[in-house]
Structures are given as structure tokens and as C-alpha cells.
Symmetry: C2
Subunit: 697 residues, 2 copies
């Protein structure tokens, strides 16, 4: 596997950064923009098409509403960008929406946001890859003919790369993102030049087609509902806008200011591209239908199920640049690549959020430590599995996947903005400086409007999309929420149970003596070493213990014990049924019963081998015995390892693994720079002190 | 699951025996016969049919050879029974063919026999269940219409029962076996009475059919080859004959004599039934074809693929008792049940042989201990999986499965008999008593004839069946052989590596001091307990060690450490990248580097929880750290468990599991009665002393 993924990795990623160089890699704005904006910028590849698709239900004539819908999306985009610029200034720690909601609205709101974001990451992977495949497919027919297969293959590739430990590098994001952005701008400019100056008539490949309206002549409430649904679909352009607010620590100083500027640039680029594509689509007469097979007509005849509906962006590119032209192919490739990068960001975001949630004990603790490969892998595999499931179920159809997508985004937008309003209210209550107050009031106004607008959009999305698939996303959120609540409850119960009493004497009986028992099966180097170590430990008593499963073998052991003059008494337990675990457990319990204030130290010699299959051949009885001993109170279990020659290989493997570093590090910024850890640790420590005092009362 | 399998288990099995009552349950002959003979007796349900099937290739006229083939099978059966009566007397320890071959012909021959037997157990399950389903299907059409499904269901049921721990009881075997045997005898007697006394003409349901011979008028070598093939198929009646020689310890005294008598009874019953069924089949004009769809003609027309060819035994029963009559249904049901019981014997035989092989270090050691549930389960699942695979691949068609079956049996027959010849030669070389010598010479003659005859049959089977499927069985044997050889090689290499030197000073540097390190994450009951235990151990130095992944958390920890006045120095390791494992490992290594003659004792507090999913939430860092520490030389790793309340559930579960006892115990006899253990342990001990002396030289 190592070799398998190395070549594409080197090609795509360049040399990986060593983790001790992490501190040097703060991002300048020109790199931060592509790193954080690949997700929102790439969404202009599918959002305009979705608007047209929905409008087509009322026939081609409804397309003339599309500029108004684009305008609404632009206003929303500016609102959201303006709101998040406030977040970035107020929370430079990079905690993002989860932190904002938790701090200002309490843990339940925070957990809701976290659930929404987790679902969102899954959908980012599914939607971006499905859309990327469709864009690639407009240039390479094979890809679109095997859509699901290709989408799954890309997910598998991304997963392997991330499991191997791919470090994000700025360049990786910069080149395709800038190629994509420039490509779209060149397309818009060249289209405007051809249309306005040269007076060319540019025709999209679908310009000749007509659309059979499912509902001809919609009016009144039905028309408004359709417009709102089209607007909801257009809101897909906003997904990923919040990414920068999670990444403030990765920016060069002044961090907040640079992040806010980058956010504004991103918003500007996104709306320009979005509007440009919509306008070009209208001019070149792109025709999109929700069910192209039946509703898209060519000379009055349905195009049939064999028809592949290409994305708006490639149809426009075809009209402007010409089909198969160099620029057309470059744009299609850059679009696909940016969409795959957008999917890759979820691979990084998921474990980062997971680590924050783990710190707050909503997820298993081991997710907390950075660079914990195993825990990270679990997250990656979970994310990839869920995304793959969605891709397969929805046939890698970006239009159907997008129905699920936008709920989560707007749940976190809305809660985050409401949290920001609270944040400013709290600060305004104590702030006296007039200048700062004026600033805060302005920020609060922006966030209030943001909360109102995004909340409205959330309602619109829920109403217009619920039966179209939004319920699936909501169900996913509920599952995440319930799981994380249960985990937190478990940790809280355990924490209450193990909290240390303030008075040392308050604890249950402390042991006064240690009785050591060395388990012996036969006499060889591992057992002799265990005996030597046990003797050095100078516990109160020491004996060797063996289980007699075979009288002949036992006789040999006893004889050798005497012949070697081993000065530790050998206790033999009979086991007529050849069991090992039960007699040992019962003996240990009997020791405890004799003198309840003693602790028993059971010392077990163990072989250490190099391969998992060798491991199957050793230590199995020891493992099971250890498992049972852990449940026996007043016992400590010591392994004395004996490294066999083959263990050398495993040691080297482990050493190599150590040099692995988790993906996503660039976006998170250096570890020392993050504030979240401190804040939450402080909270937790406070909470525990509280619990400690309570139990001491 | 517990409840799910309990009801059928109670119905089928009755109350399980407690393991401490095992000693009382030695088997009288009348119970031992059904316990050990269900496998060979049940094979008369399919063997006669296989003879007719093969003969049908040369047309119905070839059926008149069948009595001669039956005669050859009878002679072979008597030879094998007579030979095994010698085994039973010479090896009362129940080691069976593996022991005989290993002792007399060396480990390679033994391992070959073992591989053959392991393959055989798999095939016993597959063939018996496929045949049982076919017999059941002659009474219940649904079963035969869903042959593969029903066969898999029966395998799953048997597997679940055996995983749960079903104790064989004599009654379980006695009732269906005696019903089956009586049923067949009643059928033979009633058939003879009707035919000879009443002069009835009994007609099998297929009597009207004709067979299109694939090779009409075969003669010369081709005919002989076909006869040999038919004989090979008839040899299926001999499978399982060796079972009694594995079970001598389970007999009442005089064990060997009783076992030999039972063996003779079994042989007599089997040949009578086999011949009776063949004769009745000829009289009632049963017609069987290898490819019934094409070759079985009704009024000159092929019966087509929808035709179900019922087993000979049910066709004969239909002719004798009448279709759907009470006795017909009883016999069909008893036949199916006996065949399922025969399959069940493999579930017991497989782990018994596995435990003997594990004792000889050809299989993982943990298989050795009796009542080791986990190891036993692995064997059960392996057996069931392989049998299920065969059943699915071969469409639960007993005829096709039987092609694979007989090779393994005759490999072990032949090697075992050759081994017996060697055995007598060795004893004759020293024996002086004339009477005993005469006896031995007679036994040797029997075994020589047995070896010759079974060897001949093995060659015949290989020649006639190789391309029909025997190669699959041989491949299976080769895989088992290679795996077991590799495992033995590994154990031998390890044993040589760890053998204790004779002079204590000869060992590598022994540690002179112990440096104890208690890992601390936070202060709570588990860490306080670990500290208390560590202090009691009185090692040379003691310090607490913590990893600083979060400065704020660390500050809180330090403050509490001081406030509580804990009198152990707290060492803090910095970890800017939030790793835990690496800093600890590096610190331990640095301690070892400073004073290489010291050993380091790392003490880790652990939570003990009750459910596996709770376990996922705890100790993961500790587990990984322990895993890495074991590879670090000069380290001992101590777990100090802290039992949380939820661990109570797990403790109770473990306690219940302890009362589980392995199936197959009845056939193995009481543990103390077995000689194999002693013999092999003696050998091993001798071998090790040898190795020890060698290394001391």
C-alpha cells in the first residue's frame, strides 16, 4: 500500500511537511484564500445549475426569474460574509460555529451545531465528488458513463491518501483554485466581449431544446414556493463559507484582520462567479430540467434516459470557448480538481471538529490528541463510508444529493449568528468605551441581520426541501446528537464516580501490603526475567504460581525448579479440566479473602513478536487471564515483556508510524496558537473542582 | 442469542451436564455404539446410492455388478474393523490414527494423517448435512426445493448450538440411531417377507424409468475402471469407522475390550444394512442416474431438470412401506436426524484433534487447554465456514461432495495400519513370551492385510476420483499440512531462542535496580490508587509522569498535586503536538540510556468498564502506549485497574462463561484418563532438556 499511494500523492501533494516545521507555515492571504475557499468557490460549479433546474419545473419562461434569485443569493452571501467577519474578530481562536454556539447559547446549541457540521462534512464529500465527476464527465464521456464507480474510486483514493497521512500544502490548493477562478473569470470576460463587442450569438449545446413544464403557468403561492425552492438550491453556493472562521490561527498576523479580508475576497469572488455564470447561462440559452429524460424535449420529443445533462458551467464554457477547445478542457479539469479538493477539506475538517468534540467529552477521548493516527483513521473511514453510502444510494447524482446538503449549513449559520448577538449583548453590558461600544453595536446589528436572514433561509430550506431529502440530513443530525449526548453522559457518570476525595483518609481501604505472584508455565528466559524483576520489586511476599494441566509436565517443572535452585517458592494449582484462567483467578481471590488489606500483584511473562499472525500463536492465555484479572478488585497486573528477534521488525514499523503526521494541520495552524484547548480545559477543570467540592461536602 | 438457541437446544439435547460430573459418565457399550457409530452407520444412507449412480453410466444392465461391489465393500469393512480392533488394544489412550502414525512412522506421517482428518471433519459436516437434507426432502418437498438454504440453516443451527456449549449426551445419540437402525432392519425384514413369503412385487417409484447409458456395452479395462469407481463410491460406507479408536477412554472398563466389541458390532450392523439396501434396491428396481435430468428416461423422454432424484434408502422405503406411510416418514426423519448427528460429531472431533495438535505445537497453544471457549469457538467457526463454503459451491449435492470425501479417510486408514505393522514389529523384537508373540504375529498379519487393502483402495480412489473432486480434498490437506508445519517451525524457533541457560550468570545483564514511573493524566481515584500501589512496591526510585498536551490543564494538575501534598515527584513531559505515546517512550528510553542496568516499571492506571462500547471510550491511549512499551527492552508494564460500577455486569458475564463446558467431552472421556497428554508432554520435556543441554555445552 505504501508504494501504491505514494506516486499519486507525490504528484498531487508534493513533499510532505515535517511536523516540527509546522510552526513556520503560517499562511499568507494569497495562500489562505485557496486553502479555505476551495469549498465555497467550488460550489459555484453546481449552484447556478440547481437554480435553473428548479425553475424549469414552471417551464423555460420561469428562467427569467433567475437573475432575481441570483440577487437574493448575492445579498445572502454578503450578509453571511459580513456576519462571519464579526465572528473572526470576536473568536480568533478558530473554534468556529461550535465554539460560538456553545459559549453563547449553551452546550445543547453547540452540540446541535456540531451534529449539523458533521453531517455537512459527509455531504461535502458526497456532493463535491458527485459534481466533480459530472464536470469531468463533460470532457471525458467514460467518466459519466460510470459515474458511481468513478465517484467511489475518487473517494477511495482520497481516503487512502488521507489515511496515509497527507499534509495539506498551500500550493496544492493554490494552483487548481486559481486556475479555476481565472478560468471562470476569463470565461465571463470572453463571453461578455463576444456578446457585447463582437455581437456573436453564443449557443449552449442545449439551446435548441425545449422544456416540458411540469406545471405550466404557475402563479400565486405556488410560484412563490417554486421561487423559494430555487433560492434554496442556489444557497448551495454558500456552503463552506464558515471554513475561514475555523482557520484563523493558521493566518499570518494580524490574524483576525487577514482572515476577515480573505473572507471578503472570497465572498466577492464567489458572487461574481455565481452571477456571471447565471447570466451567461441565460444568454447562451442553457436548458436544464429536473427530469431531463422526460421533460427535456428536442424537436418536441423527449431526449430519453440515455441523455446526460452536463453541468451549467461546462455548457456555458462550451458555448463561450467552443466544445473540446483547450480552455474548455482546462476549465473542466480545474473545476473537477477544485471540487475534489473541496471534498478533501472535509477529510481534514471532520477530525479537527472531532478533536474539539472529544476535548468536550462528546466523542471518545483519544480523538483529542493530535497526530493520533488510529483515532484519526477511524474518523476518516467513518466519513468515507458514509459519503460512499450516499453516493451509491443517490447514484452519484449531485442534484439529488444537494437536496440534503443545505439544511446543516444553515442550522450552523443561524445558531452561530444568534450566538454572536448574545456575545455582543454580553460585552455591551460591561463595555464602557464609547468607540468600542459603537463598534459593537454595529457588529451586533450585522449579526442580528445575519441571524434573521439565515434563520429565514433555514425555514425556507426546511419547508421547500424536507420531503426532497432534507429529512435524511436531519435524521443524520439526530443520530450524531444522540450518540454524542450518550457519550458525554457516560463520561460524566464515570468522572463523578472516580473523582478524588479531598481528604486522603476518605478513600476506601488502602492496601497495606503487596503480595506478588509470578505466573510460570515453563522455565525459560522470559520467566527467568520475570522472576528477576519481581525479586527487584521487593514486595512484601513473592511466590511463583503455576497451573498443573498435565502431571508429567509439572513433574519436569518441579525438578528443574529444584535443580536450578530458584529461591522463590513454587505454588502449584491443580486443574483437572486443563483450565488456566479459573484456578488463577480463584487463587488470587482466596489471597484477597485471607488478607483483604493486601493487594495482589500478578506478574506475567510475555513474548513480544513482530507480526500479528505470530501474536495469535502466543500470549493468548495470558491475554485472557489479564482480561479477567482486571475485573478482580485489589489486583495489579504486570507484563514483563521478552522481545523475540522477530519483534525488531515491529519496532521499526512503529518507529516509521511515529513520523506520520495528521492531515489538516495547515488549516489548524500551529498547536500552541489555538485558544480552544485552554478555554475548554479551564472550563472542565472548573467543573471538576466543583464536582470534587460537592463530593467532599 | 442466549435465549434464541436455548429452546432448540433444550429440545434436542436435554439438560447439559456439569463438568464436575464428567468423571461419572463412562459409557456402557449400548450407549457407546450410537455415540461413536452415528457417523459410519449413517453413511449407509448414501453409500448404496453412490454405487448404483456410478454403475448407471454403463446402463441399467451394469446394476447386476452391484452385489459384487457390495461384497468388496463388506470385505473391506471387515478388514478395517479387524485392523482397528488391533489399534484399540494397542493404543487404549484414544490418540487415534494421528497418535499411531506419529509414534510409529514419525511426525511427518502423523501430520499427514492429521491434515487428512481435519479435511475429513469438514467433509463429514458437508456430506452428512447434504445427505440429511436430501433424505428429509423425500418426505418434505419444501426442503428439497430449497436444498442449499436448508443445508446452510442446519449448519448454522449446529454451529450456534456448539458455540453455546452443548454437552453430548448418550441419549441424544442413542434414540435416533437406534430408531434408524431398527427402521432399516424392519425395512429389510418386511421387504424380504413381502417378496419371499407373500410374493408381492414391490416397485420403487423409479422402477418404470430407464437409463440412457453414457457408455453402452463397456468392456475390458473401461468396465474394470467403472467398477473400481463404483467401489470407491461404496467405500463412503467406511467413513467414521476410526471414531471408536479415538474414544477408548470414554468406555467402561475393560475399555479396550469393550471398544473392540463395539467396533465389531458397528461393522456388523453397517454391512448388513448396506447389503440389505443394495439387494432391496435391485429387487424394487430403483433407478439412479448420475445426471438424472438427461440420462433418466420416462417412456423414452428425459425427466428434465425439475426432477428430484431421491436417495436409494427412501425409494426402497417407499416400495416396501408405501409412500407417505407412517414407517416411511419415521425412517426418513430418523435417517435425516442421524445424518445431522453425524455432522455434529465433526464439531466435537475437530477441536479434540486440534487440542492434540496444539499440544504437539502444530496449532496455536491455546487450543490445547480443554474448555477454552474462545479457542474452541475459532475451531467451530472455521469448520462451519469451510463446510458451508463446500455446501454452497457444490449446491448441497451429496453425490458431488462424496467425490471429495473418501481420500482423506483412506489416507489415515493406510498410514495408521502401516504404523500398526511397525508397532508390532517393534514389540516383537523384544517380546519373549510365546503366547503374547503368537498374538502379536496374528495382529501384525491383520494390520498388514489392512494396510495393504486400504492402501490399494486409496490408490483406486485417487485414480478414479482425482478429477472428480478428490484434488480439492488433497489441496485442503496440503494447506493444512503447510500451515501446521509453519506453526511448528515458529514455535521451535522461539523455543530455541528463549531456552533458559543452565548457568544463571550466563544470561544477559540482569537489572540491578527498578525505576518506577506512574503515568498520571489527572488526579482521580484510579490515579491515586495507582500511586498508592506503586509506593507499596518499594522500588528503588518512584516518580509520577504526565504529558503536557495542554498548558492550562497542566497548571491545574500541578496546583492540585501541591495542594494535596502528594509526596511523589511529578515529572512533566512537554508535547507541543499533543502526542502522548512518543514522549513517554522517549523518556523511558532516556532513563534506560542513563543507567542501562536499571529496569523501568511503568505503572498505568486503567478504568475497567462493563461493555465493549464503553471500552472504546477509555484506555485507548493507555492501550497504545502499552503496546509500544512492550517493544522497549528493559521495561515492565503494570496495569492498576479501577473497577467502575458498570464493570459488575461484565464480571457476572465472565462468571457465567466460566460454567461453560466444551462439547465432545463425553467422547473424550474424563481428562485424567487420557494417556496422550502424558506421553507427549514427556516427549516434549525430553526434547527441551536436550535443547537445554545443547545450549549449555
Amino acid at each position: 500500500m505504501s508504494k501504491l499511494t505514494d506516486v499519486p500523492k507525490r504528484i498531487l501533494i508534493g513533499r510532505a511537511l515535517r511536523s516540527d516545521r509546522l510552526g513556520e507555515t503560517l499562511l499568507p492571504k494569497r495562500i489562505a484564500l485557496p486553502v479555505f475557499a476551495s469549498d465555497p468557490l467550488s460550489s459555484v460549479a453546481y449552484a447556478p445549475g440547481e437554480v435553473l433546474l428548479v425553475l424549469s419545473i414552471a417551464g423555460v419562461s420561469a428562467y427569467h426569474f433567475s437573475p432575481w434569485i441570483a440577487l437574493a443569493v448575492v445579498v445572502l452571501m454578503f450578509t453571511v460574509v459580513a456576519s462571519y467577519r464579526q465572528n473572526v474578530h470576536a473568536y480568533p481562536s478558530g473554534g468556529g460555529d461550535y465554539e460560538v454556539a456553545t459559549t453563547n447559547l449553551g452546550p445543547k446549541a453547540g452540540l446541535t451545531v456540531a451534529s449539523a457540521l458533521l453531517v455537512d462534512y459527509v455531504l461535502t464529500v458526497a456532493v463535491s465528488i458527485a459534481s466533480g465527476i459530472e464536470n469531468l464527465g463533460s470532457a471525458i464521456p467514460f467518466v459519466v458513463e460510470h459515474k458511481v464507480l468513478c465517484a467511489v474510486a475518487v473517494i477511495v483514493l482520497l481516503t487512502l491518501m488521507n489515511l496515509r497521512g497527507v499534509k495539506e500544502s498551500g500550493k496544492l490548493f493554490a494552483i487548481p483554485t486559481y486556475v479555476f477562478v481565472s478560468g471562470v473569470f476569463v470565461m465571463i470576460a470572453w463571453g461578455a466581449f463576444r456578446g457585447l463587442v463582437l455581437g456573436d450569438t453564443m449557443r449552449a449545446p442545449t439551446a435548441e431544446y425545449t422544456i416540458k413544464a411540469e406545471h405550466q403557468g404557475l402563479a400565486g403561492f405556488a410560484l412563490i414556493f417554486l421561487m423559494l425552492r430555487a433560492f434554496s438550491s442556489g444557497c448551495a453556493a454558500l456552503t463552506g463559507v464558515e471554513a475561514i472562521s475555523n482557520g484563523v490561527p493558521a493566518f499570518r498576523k494580524p490574524k483576525s484582520k487577514n482572515a476577515a479580508t480573505t473572507l471578503a475576497m472570497m465572498g466577492l469572488l464567489a458572487v461574481t462567479m455565481f452571477c456571471g455564470i447565471i447570466v451567461l447561462a441565460l444568454v447562451t440559452k442553457v436548458r436544464m430540467a429536473e427530469n431531463p429524460a422526460a421533460d427535456l424535449l428536442h424537436h418536441g420529443v423527449g431526449v430519453g434516459s440515455g441523455y446526460v445533462q452536463n453541468p451549467v458551467i461546462t455548457q456555458v464554457a462550451e458555448a463561450v470557448f467552443g466544445k473540446g477547445s483547450f480552455l474548455f478542457v482546462v476549465l473542466a479539469a480545474a473545476t473537477a480538481l477544485v471540487l475534489f479538493l473541496a471534498a478533501n477539506t472535509a477529510y481534514n475538517g471532520f477530525p479537527v471538529l472531532g478533536s474539539i468534540l472529544a476535548q468536550d467529552r462528546y466523542l471518545p477521548r483519544q480523538l483529542h490528541t493530535r497526530g493520533d493516527r488510529l483515532a484519526f483513521s477511524n474518523g476518516i473511514v467513518l466519513l468515507a463510508g458514509a459519503a460512499m453510502l450516499l453516493v451509491v444510494i443517490y447514484g452519484a447524482d449531485s442534484t439529488r444529493l444537494i437536496q440534503l446538503y443545505i439544511v446543516g449549513v444553515f442550522v450552523s449559520f443561524t445558531l452561530s449568528q444568534i450566538g454572536m448577538v448574545r456575545h455582543w449583548n454580553r460585552h455591551l453590558a460591561t463595555e464602557r468605551d464609547a468607540g468600542t461600544r459603537r463598534h459593537m453595536v454595529r457588529s451586533r446589528a450585522i449579526n442580528t441581520f445575519g441571524a434573521f436572514f439565515t434563520g429565514l433561509v433555514l425555514v425556507v430550506v426546511l419547508v421547500t426541501k424536507f420531503t426532497h431529502g432534507a429529512w435524511v440530513a436531519l435524521l443524520g443530525m439526530v443520530i450524531f446528537y444522540a450518540t454524542m449526548t450518550a457519550i458525554r453522559k457516560h463520561y460524566d457518570r464515570v468522572a463523578a464516580e472516580i473523582v478524588a476525595p479531598e481528604e486522603p483518609g476518605d478513600d476506601s481501604v488502602r492496601p497495606s501490603r503487596i503480595h506478588s505472584v509470578v505466573l510460570i508455565s515453563r522455565i525459560h528466559r522470559p520467566t527467568l526475567r520475570a522472576l528477576a524483576y519481581a525479586k527487584l520489586m521487593r514486595s512484601d511476599t513473592l511466590e511463583a504460581l503455576t497451573v498443573n494441566v498435565d502431571p508429567a509436565e509439572m513433574k519436569v517443572l518441579r525438578e528443574e525448579w529444584e535443580r536450578r535452585g530458584i529461591d522463590v517458592p513454587l505454588k502449584v494449582l491443580d486443574s483437572p479440566y486443563r483450565e488456566i484462567t479459573r484456578p488463577v483467578i480463584e487463587y488470587v481471590k482466596s489471597l484477597r479473602k485471607e488478607s483483604p488489606r493486601d493487594a495482589v500483584s500478578v506478574i506475567i511473562p510475555e513474548y513480544v513478536v513482530g507480526h500479528w499472525y505470530e501474536h495469535l500463536l502466543h500470549n493468548q492465555s495470558a491475554l485472557r487471564l489479564k482480561g479477567r484479572l482486571l475485573f478482580t478488585p485489589g489486583v495489579m497486573v504486570t507484563s514483563v515483556p521478552y522481545q523475540l528477534q522477530s519483534s525488531e521488525a515491529a519496532r521499526n514499523r512503529a518507529r516509521r508510524r511515529q513520523d506520520w503526521s495528521a492531515p489538516g494541520a495547515v488549516r489548524r495552524g500551529p498547536a500552541g496558537e489555538r485558544g480552544t484547548g485552554e478555554r475548554l480545559a479551564g472550563q472542565r477543570a472548573a467543573g471538576e473542582r466543583g464536582a470534587g467540592e460537592k463530593s467532599a461536602r
